[in-house]
């Protein structure tokens, strides 16, 4: 047994010891590398394994009206998340949440498409309190679900301010792709329209980060709320020129069955007092994602409740434009304020080689400017148009911004249609215009479509000294865009005299606009429209203030297919200004306001002039 001789054994034992030392030494060296040399990398990895950052939205800034009343604020809401996990288990979680959160199948599909690795999935930005209670009670049946209290938008007046305010909703994929929203992330709520959109960056605030600890299955561990790493910074408050009670009042008086818009401006600085579009929508319905049924209903409604007619609706201005023709003529000096037009109205006139009718076949006789406005006499304005001339009309109209946005601080505004020069006819209709085109333009017809807001801005100039600041919704900002007409004090007085004729005894809008405390002056119009030639759109554009004083509010009312400016639009305007001025001067509100209402209700109106 040579092999088991003690000497041979000793040699082999040494050899074996060497091998053992080598093997264990190699292991020890590897552990030294991993645990000492590379430890910091692994420590970081271990942290990111168990800690998941969850962005926490900041409370959105509060929106106040001009009186300091709250238009939009935040109330506590609950958002439900599925925490990051492998795709399949997130899908399972979604399916299990479906009955509790009442999610539709299409919604589940949308959410499944949004699953991203390592990102928590926002399932419901505004869960019902009942659902939240159910989830919390059975929290261990729902691993990987996180419920976060987050501020939720509330619009106190709902539908009354819908179009002006806009609404907030989850950011869409195409919005995320735009440069404006590069800092934003999926699941964030952003302003989608109106003020909420315009001042999104002010209102949004700065998000915070909450650190959640999770285990390998994505289940939350530790305190349910997680640890606040960076607290969120609330968004800035926004103070508006809007008058919330006035908006609510307009909402209550605008006929339910009608469509249209009301714009009220403060002539002092162009502040937007009211901006209303009917039919309206309730922005609260959009918070936290609008229900599919309601969305389908709103978007397929032929009345277009999602369309903001005040700033996007384009209508032929018709007779309310005659003041613009008059203003341009006075500005250009082609007519004197009190000058009587040499050719009288006999129910029509032969002019520029064509015979044009006045709306009144009996004729208006000899008229000065104020008389022509009061009677809305076409014959007078045809002659005035010829005096201005087509080119000067186009230049002036363009300068006054009738084909431009007026610069209101809203994300969307229709610039309107008005030819900048004669090429317009070539481009649009394919022929060179003759001088005769000025005749249509002079009475607010032809290629001329304006928004109610734009007409309100124009009438602001008449309520001031001929200058018109851009309408502003945000309080305390200077208008960026403005223009002025060179109108003498006498000229302005004559124009207002014309408008006074409309609303005075004998004027068409007298009964609908006569108020006890305030003088309303203005102009009615009937805008022809291709949809229904029998029922023109009803316009009233005017202003009001205390008797014998300067105008303190400008108002434009448009009622689609309202047929009569004096019977349909003018009373809405009168009731609007009455409400505003009564509140301004501390006079109690009365629902029976206009003379027509007094007669209809049998309430005496001793103040009425006959």
């Amino acid at each position: 047994m040579k092999a088991h001789h003690p000497h041979r054994r000793r040699v082999r034992a040494k050899f074996a010891t060497g091998i053992i030392g080598l093997v264990l030494g190699a292991i020890a060296f590897q552990f030294f590398r991993v645990q000492v040399l590379q430890s910091s990398d692994y420590k970081l990895q271990s942290e990111s394994n168990r800690l998941r950052p969850l962005p926490t939205p900041a409370p959105r800034g509060t929106i106040y009206d001009r009186n300091g009343l709250i238009i939009a604020d935040n109330i506590p809401g609950y958002a439900v998340y599925v925490l990051a996990a492998p795709r399949d288990s997130m899908k399972v979680s979604l399916r299990r949440l479906q009955p509790i959160l009442d999610l539709s199948d299409p919604r589940i599909e949308v959410l499944e498409g949004r699953i991203r690795r390592n990102l928590p999935l926002l399932v419901d930005v505004d869960a019902d309190l009942d659902a939240v209670a159910a989830l919390k009670e059975r929290s261990n049946e729902f691993p990987g679900i996180y419920i976060e209290m987050r501020p939720k938008r509330r619009y106190r007046s709902g539908a009354a301010i819908g179009h002006a305010l806009g609404f907030v909703s989850e950011i869409a994929a195409d919005e995320l792709a735009t440069p404006r929203f590069t800092e934003y992330e999926q699941g964030m709520l952003i302003g989608k329209a109106g003020i909420e959109r315009q001042y999104e960056e002010l209102l949004q605030g700065t998000r915070g980060v909450r650190i959640l600890e999770v285990d390998a299955t994505g289940r939350l561990v530790g305190s349910f709320a997680g640890r606040e790493e960076n607290p969120s910074l609330p968004g800035e408050d926004v103070h508006l020129n809007l008058d919330l009670p006035l908006m609510e009042w307009i909402h209550s008086i605008f006929p339910d069955s009608m469509r249209g818009a009301v714009v009220a401006l403060d002539p002092a600085d162009g502040a937007v007092l009211a901006l209303y579009s009917a039919p309206t929508m309730n922005p609260n319905d959009f918070v936290g994602g609008i229900e599919t049924d309601l969305w389908n209903e709103l978007s397929s409604d032929h009345r277009q409740p999602l369309f903001n007619r005040a700033v996007l609706g384009r209508y032929a201005p018709a007779s309310i434009w005659k003041l613009a023709t008059a203003g341009i003529a006075l500005d250009a000096g082609v007519v004197g304020p009190t000058e009587v037009m040499p050719v009288p109205c006999t129910g029509g006139i032969t002019i520029l080689g064509q015979y044009k009718r006045c709306w009144n076949p009996d004729g208006h006789g000899f008229l000065d400017l104020a008389g022509a406005i009061a009677n809305s006499c076409n014959v007078y304005f045809y002659q005035l148009g010829v005096r201005i001339g087509l080119d000067r009309m186009l230049d002036a109209g363009t300068r006054l911004g009738f084909s431009r946005r007026c610069g209101i601080d809203l994300p969307e505004e229709n610039p309107g249609v008005f030819p900048q020069d004669r090429n317009f006819w070539v481009d649009v209709f394919g022929y060179r215009p003759l001088e005769g085109e000025v005749l249509s333009l002079a009475i607010g017809q032809g290629p001329n479509d304006q928004t109610p807001l734009k007409m309100a801005q124009f009438y602001t100039a008449l309520a001031r000294d001929g200058s018109a600041p851009a309408p502003r919704l945000l309080k305390g900002t200077d208008p960026t865009d403005s223009w002025r007409l060179e109108l003498s004090r006498l000229a302005i007085e004559e124009l207002r005299k014309g408008m006074r004729g409309v609303t005075s005894p004998g004027g068409t809008a007298y009964f609908g606009t006569a108020l006890e405390h305030w003088e309303v002056i203005g102009k009615t119009g009937s805008g022809q429209n291709p949809q229904d030639p029998e029922r023109p759109h009803a316009w009233f554009a005017g202003m009001a203030g205390p008797w014998g004083g300067e105008p303190e509010i400008v108002v434009v009312v448009l009622v689609e297919f309202g047929e009569s400016g004096s019977r349909m639009a003018a009373p809405i305007a009168a009731k609007t200004v009455d409400f505003y001025l009564r509140r301004k001067y501390g006079i109690p509100i009365d629902t029976i306001q206009t003379l027509a209402e007094h007669y209809a209700a049998g309430v005496p109106a001793p103040w009425a002039r006959q």
Binding site: N49, R50, R219, V221
Partner: protein, 413 residues
């Protein structure tokens, strides 16, 4: 008096003391492995079951260490045959268990589930020691290695069929350790291992070709010491190993292929097969020098770590006790192995030394493969860490092996 009693009971105080310390440390780590944020009943009570098994193991140790050496020699052959039959039976009536549910390595006796492979290891060690210890001369030719290779190879193939790759590796460790102690020349052992090396290297044709050239030169140099038949068989075996590598690879189960691929690059599949390795290395690496503290490992608590109380118990040690903990554990293992080497060195009886080396071979494979896989040195293989990992049969048989080692060393004249 008490000291003498302990010495009498333990026989080899040094070996038994070290192993006992390690086992108790293992129980503590199994306890820690059960401290999870979301506790599971399987892991929470595991440490108590391990303690019960330790008590059984200590009884077994006491009994087995009283058995005279000759008795072992007598039962060697019946024991080996019984072990092989049991392994074959496992293939038919075996069940999976716990984390190794896919491997049919258990025999369910109703009151207890038993892993025949653990018993077979000891039986094979004894059989090899008996065979080699009774020979007059040390193995000098490849032909002399054929019988030992068959003795180890039979149970090896049977556990591979289960399929239990870890135990198969242990049989290879046993064979080489015993042959080495029997005085086999190292170059012969290398020749014996050469087909295995060829199998691994064949995945790169260029490297395999280079290896093959070296092998042929080697065979030529030793031509006078080898029979022609032997040279030719080594040559053919290497060629065959290189050729069957690809079909063999394709015959592996997908998870086995994955484990090897992941070993080569853990980033291949970070959510799937690479997950265990990455999480294990993150656990160990994030432990740093001093660890996160006993029971405080986050990787473990939050369930990122796989198989924390069995195969990946060393990752728990690494995460909670840091480099200091892993180093001390390694040193303890080193002392145990060194003690075995010394015992073998002092054993006059060849059978005794061979048994001790067989045991050493199993443990070294277990230690290297189990610890190595937690830090990416070895592909992930379901193989437990002696005395530390949770597992009843394994702990019991490890302690029986301690008893056998202590006894054979004690009976030296």
């Amino acid at each position: 008096m008490i000291l003498r009693l302990i010495r009498y009971w333990a026989i080899d105080t040094q070996l038994v003391g070290l192993v006992l310390i390690l086992t108790l440390f293992g129980v503590a780590m199994i306890y820690s492995a059960g401290v999870l944020n979301d506790p599971s009943p399987v892991t929470t009570g595991a440490w108590m079951r391990q303690l019960v098994w330790l008590a059984i193991a200590l009884v077994a140790f006491t009994l087995v260490s009283r058995i005279p050496l000759r008795w072992f020699e007598w039962v060697t052959m019946p024991g080996y045959v019984f072990a092989v039959i049991m392994l074959a039976a496992t293939k038919v009536i075996g069940t999976g268990a716990g984390t190794a549910a896919g491997v049919e390595s258990f025999i369910d006796l109703g009151f207890v589930r038993f892993q025949p492979a653990e018993f077979a290891k000891l039986a094979t060690i004894l059989a090899l020691a008996r065979y080699l210890g009774s020979r007059a001369d040390e193995p000098a030719t490849l032909k002399d290695l054929v019988s030992p290779a068959v003795i180890a190879g039979l149970p090896l193939v049977l556990v591979l069929l289960q399929p239990d790759l870890g135990s198969a590796l242990a049989f290879i460790g046993i064979l080489f350790a015993v042959l080495f102690w029997a005085g086999t020349a190292p170059w012969l052992l290398l020749l014996l291992a050469s087909p295995g090396v060829a199998l691994i290297l064949s995945f790169n044709t260029l490297i395999w070709s280079g290896y093959f050239v070296v092998l042929v030169i080697f065979l030529y140099m030793y031509r006078y010491r080898l029979y022609l038949v032997e040279s030719v068989s080594v040559f053919i075996a290497n060629l065959a190993a290189g050729t069957i590598a690809v079909p063999l690879w394709n015959s592996l189960a997908a998870y086995q292929q994955n484990r090897i691929l992941v070993f080569l690059d853990p980033g291949v599949d970070p959510r799937g097969a690479g997950y265990q390795l990455i999480q294990s290395m993150v656990a160990i690496g994030s432990g740093g020098l001093t660890g996160k503290g006993f029971t405080l490992g986050t990787q473990k608590r939050l369930d990122f770590l796989p198989e924390q109380h069995t195969d990946f118990i060393y990752a728990v040690i690494g995460e909670e006790l840091g480099f200091i903990g892993t180093l001390l554990t390694l040193i303890t293992f080193a002392l145990i192995l060194y003690r075995l080497v010394s015992m073998a060195e002092q054993a006059e009886d060849p059978f005794a030394g061979l048994v001790i080396f067989g045991i050493l071979g199993t443990w070294l494979v277990h230690i290297f493969v189990n610890i190595g896989m937690t830090v990416g040195m070895v592909p992930i293989t379901g193989i437990p860490l002696p005395f530390v990992s949770y597992g009843g049969t394994f702990l019991l048989m490890s302690w029986v092996a301690v008893a056998v080692a202590a006894r054979v060393a004690h009976e030296e004249p």
